[in-house]
């Protein structure tokens, strides 16, 4: 386990002398229990919104029916798992988060709770979500849910992120699991359509994240994270944003092409992915200068979030309204 960086202020040990015995202990006066909002913040609520939305879209777009109570339970479990994985991510990266402006205000760098409490909270949420998913929904979705947590925490956070500039490409798969799990919750089988939804988010993640990484690259460099702009340089990152955006266009249309959706989704995918590619072109072909405001990159990042909401929204509308 990593140490340092996220040492909580509230439990910082100090020396106490009692009857000539010197000990190192956390002072009782400063052992305040963490506020419940701190635990809530550990679950990365903003990220969870997108996770819940894409999972719900996978669940609604899947063929077949699911009882609303079981459907709600499936989404709750996916949200709990995402929260648990987020807490475990922050437990592991507390020292890195403390070095980056974007993450320095998170609960652990601020010393609002003990690091091991974040770990235990993350384990509790993760374990609870898997067990309830298995018992209430089905064990296939519970198994994929468990694998997604393992993938995000161990393969991405602990292994890939600090070791390779391809961290986002492979690790991005972790964020692609929610619609797949939502779909399996209904069908109890893995078919081409949910795998395509998985592939769309997988392909969307690099340009989405690298657009952000381009303007916070100094933070990543200082934290020692080999994010693409830091490790391979800005030009390579920009070219790769363009390549992934170009691949995303045909991939997003594929569900329509194979007959898994109707024209409402297909035409929306062409328009949305076309605009994504159009916004990627200036990012992919330009070079930033000293004091650059990075407007095209910020615009692409903002649109990429809207894109995913709109694309999956179109999928649900296509399946629910036009089916």
């Amino acid at each position: 386990m990593k140490t340092g960086g996220g040492a909580p202020e509230t439990v910082r040990p100090f020396r106490i002398e009692i009857d000539n015995v010197t000990t190192t202990a956390a002072p009782i006066a400063t052992q305040l229990p963490a506020d419940w909002r701190v635990f809530f913040a550990l679950t990365k609520p903003k990220v969870m919104r997108l996770v819940v939305f894409t999972a719900l879209c996978g669940l609604l777009a899947a063929p077949g029916a699911i009882h609303p109570v079981i459907g709600f339970t499936a989404i709750l479990c996916i949200a709990l798992a995402a929260g648990g994985a987020g807490a475990l991510n922050q437990w592991w990266e507390a020292d890195i988060d403390a070095k980056m402006k974007r993450t320095a205000r998170r609960p652990l760098p601020l010393g609002k709770l003990r690091r091991e409490d974040a770990r235990d909270f993350g384990m509790l949420l993760s374990g609870t979500s898997i067990v309830i998913m298995g018992l209430a929904v089905n064990w296939l979705s519970a198994t994929v849910l468990a694998f997604s947590i393992f993938f995000y925490v161990v393969i991405y956070t602990m292994w890939l992120k600090p070791n390779t500039p391809q961290n986002i490409v492979i690790g991005g798969a972790a964020g692609a699991f929610p619609p797949l799990i939502g779909w399996i919750a209904v069908t109890n089988e893995i078919t081409a359509m949910p795998l395509l939804l998985f592939a769309i988010i997988f392909m969307w993640t690099p340009p989405h994240f690298w657009a952000l990484a381009l303007w916070v690259k100094i933070d990543y460099a200082e934290a020692g994270i080999p994010m693409m702009p830091v490790a391979r340089g800005e030009t390579t990152t920009r070219r790769q944003i363009l390549v992934y955006s170009a691949l995303l266009l045909p991939l997003s249309v594929l569900p329509w092409w194979i007959g898994g959706t109707g024209a409402a989704y297909g035409l929306s995918a062409i328009a949305l992915s076309g605009l994504f590619l159009a916004l990627s072109v200036p990012v992919g072909l330009r070079t930033s200068v000293e004091g650059d405001t990075m407007r095209p990159e910020k615009r692409l990042f903002a649109y990429s979030i809207l894109y995913l909401f709109a694309l999956f929204g179109a999928l649900v509308i296509d399946r629910v309204v036009f089916a």
Partner: protein
């Protein structure tokens, strides 16, 4: 522990207990509903 710290300690513990209680109550209701749904299948 000063009186102010004790008061803050009690306040946070009380709030956490309320939140944990509400979550547990939510799970009780959810498990009840899941059981009813599964029994009716």
């Amino acid at each position: 522990m000063t009186p102010d710290e004790k008061e803050e300690f009690d306040r946070r513990r009380r709030q956490r207990n309320i939140v944990v209680g509400l979550i547990l109550a939510g799970f009780v209701v959810l498990f009840y509903m899941i059981t009813i749904v599964q029994m009716s299948d």
